[in-house]
Amino acid sequence: MNGSRAAALTLAWRFAALRTGGFPVIPTLIIGIIAAVAVFADVLAPFDPEVGTLGARFHPPFWQVGGDTQHLLGTDHLGRDVLSRLIFGARISMIVGFTAVIFAGVLGTALGILSGYLGGWVDQLIMRVTDTWLALPALTFAIFLAAVVGPSAMNIVIILAAVYWTRYARVIRGEVLSLKERDFVRLAVVAGCSKRTIMRRHILPNVLNSAIVLGTLMLGVVIVTEASLSFLGVGVPPPKPAWGLMLADGKKGLMAGYWWLTVLPGCCIVLMVLSANLLGDWLRVKLDPQLRQL
């Protein structure tokens, strides 16, 4: 490969922020736009996402024959406006994704710190549970929990947090174990700080970076899991416009060739997850080189 082509490629690479050095502009922009859409969904959406006109079922997007500018991205099997559902779907994905990641993060970080710092039977107990839960396939475990507690948007958040806190706990515990041997922690012990103080004032701030990086990387995973649960009918209950649910509904029109019901929600999920992963990768290199192995 000659030099200028390589340089051009490198530039393109940087621009797409797949390269770890530069700040990932596009992914941040995409997440920002989705977040803005989620916040202003009421203003932006042309229709009520949960109410359709049965007379206007399976309208294609406006550029196709039979489409109209009233429903820019067409309608679904109940005649609901796809664009409006996508817009409100962003809100659900954002809320479920972020809250689940934060719940899981808080729980996992707290337990990871306790496990790593206290050691002994507390460590044994937490780590045995962590190992076992990590062995369970996340989606299967989430389905089981959903079957036990029943589907609702709030339950989904709790389920996802219950399934994913173990990932934080494992990593944070490892970090705490090495932090424990550091001078400033030993000094605090010698100075007579209580265990609580040490964990809160000396350990927690030092594992926060890792927790944030992990959270960003987890956002994509959580959103895919939520979509899968909704797709299977144990996630966000209908008629709420979750993207996964839209895909499940879209399957009904798939064989008839109503592609927009399948392609569009999927694109939204992929854009969101891809952006979160890129941002997470960048943060990982930026904030915490030790996490590269993850």
């Binding site: 490969m1 490629l9 690479w13 797949l18 045995r128 549970v129 190992d131 076992t132 839960w133 062995a135 369970l136 396939p137 989606l139 299967t140 475990f141 389905i143 089981f144 929990l145 959903a146 079957a147 036990v148 507690v149 994509g220 895919v224 979509a227 899968s228 797709f231 299977l232 009918g233 144990v234 895909l247 879209g250 399957k251 798939l254 064989m255 060739g257 592609w259 399948t262 392609v263 999927g266 999920i269 992929v270 997850v273 891809l274 992963n277 890129l278």
Partner: protein, 306 residues
């Protein structure tokens, strides 16, 4: 080494115990278990009957004891929907899941290993970047969406492949691709890093010093060694594939364990859901144990060589 194996087996037993306790606890402690264990639409009398049958009024540890003893006897309860023992149902679906997993594995290795090797041999060049994009897409595209897109193109538009069901090799192609897609990315990344390790080894250096052609150095000396960790991961992933195929099997109506789990949810057939989770978790714990023990057996040799 014997001590290590025994300790490792001990851990696995603790994990299995922990697993059963987890499942037990979630069923008993979140609401009324009788409602879960009874068929949908059952009368109050039925619920009461179940309550006495399972001893739900007795202390929790007694309940756990009978739960465990039933599990150890292979009694996972009866399916409400199919009216057969759940274990029987599970075992009848297992071959389908294995078939799908093997096909998906073959596909993921076929994609993952060559791309991983190319990415390792051409470090930091175009191929490596392409590999990164591929790996990222693999992680970011949900397998069920990949499946739906496949149906859209190959069944609806082109009409080449059947959109659902099982029976012929043609039925297998799309679900195997959708399921293997995600794993292909993982296998690619491991092949790449393993290959990079091996390429830096002394024996590859010696192979070059012998004046062997590069194709022989990479294809013979490096490749075989680099494959060991990949095959280990593939072994674990095969079992994981059996257990994570829920969405793919649902999309393609493939009659495996994942589909069984989906039916369990759809028909509110709780014993099926519980058994699938328990058996899936147990399977993965056991496979991890087997891999660790095998590694321990192989390890002294490897350590000796260093």
């Amino acid at each position: 080494m014997k001590r290590f194996i025994l300790r490792r087996m001990g851990y696995a037993l603790v994990s299995l115990f922990c697993l059963s306790l987890t499942i037990f606890a979630f069923v008993r402690l979140t609401g009324d278990p009788a409602v879960l264990l009874v068929e949908p639409g059952a009368s109050q009398a039925d619920i009461d009957a179940v309550r006495t049958q399972f001893g739900l009024d007795r202390p929790l540890w007694v309940q756990y004891g009978s739960f465990m003893s039933a599990l150890l006897r292979g009694d996972f309860g009866h399916s409400f929907y199919y009216r057969t023992p759940v274990l029987e149902l599970y075992l009848s679906r297992l071959p389908h899941s294995l078939l799908l997993a093997v096909a998906a594995m073959a596909f993921s290795l076929l994609i993952g290993i060559p791309t991983g090797i190319i990415a390792a041999v051409r470090v930091n060049r175009w191929w490596d970047s392409a590999g990164k994009i591929f790996a990222l897409l693999g992680l970011s595209m949900p397998s069920f969406w990949v499946g739906l897109l496949l149906i859209l193109f190959f069944s609806v538009y082109l009409g080449w492949l059947p959109s659902s069901g099982s029976g012929t090799a043609l039925h297998l192609i799309m679900p195997a691709f959708a399921l293997g897609w995600y794993f292909a990315a993982a296998h690619m990344r491991l092949t790449r890093s393993s290959m990079l390790d091996v390429l830096g080894s002394e024996y590859v250096k010696l192979a070059r010093l012998k004046g062997l052609p590069e194709a022989l150095v990479i294809g013979k000396h490096a490749f075989k060694n680099a494959l060991i960790p990949v095959m280990t991961l593939a072994g674990i992933n095969l079992v994981i594939m059996v257990n994570v195929a829920v969405v793919v099997e649902t999309v393609f109506a493939w009659p495996g364990i994942g589909r069984l789990l989906y039916e369990g949810i759809a028909f509110r057939d709780f014993p099926v859901v519980q058994a699938t989770v328990l058996l899936g978790g147990a399977m993965i714990i056991v496979v991890n144990l087997v891999v660790d023990v095998l590694y321990a057996v192989v390890d002294p040799r490897i350590r000796y060589e260093r």
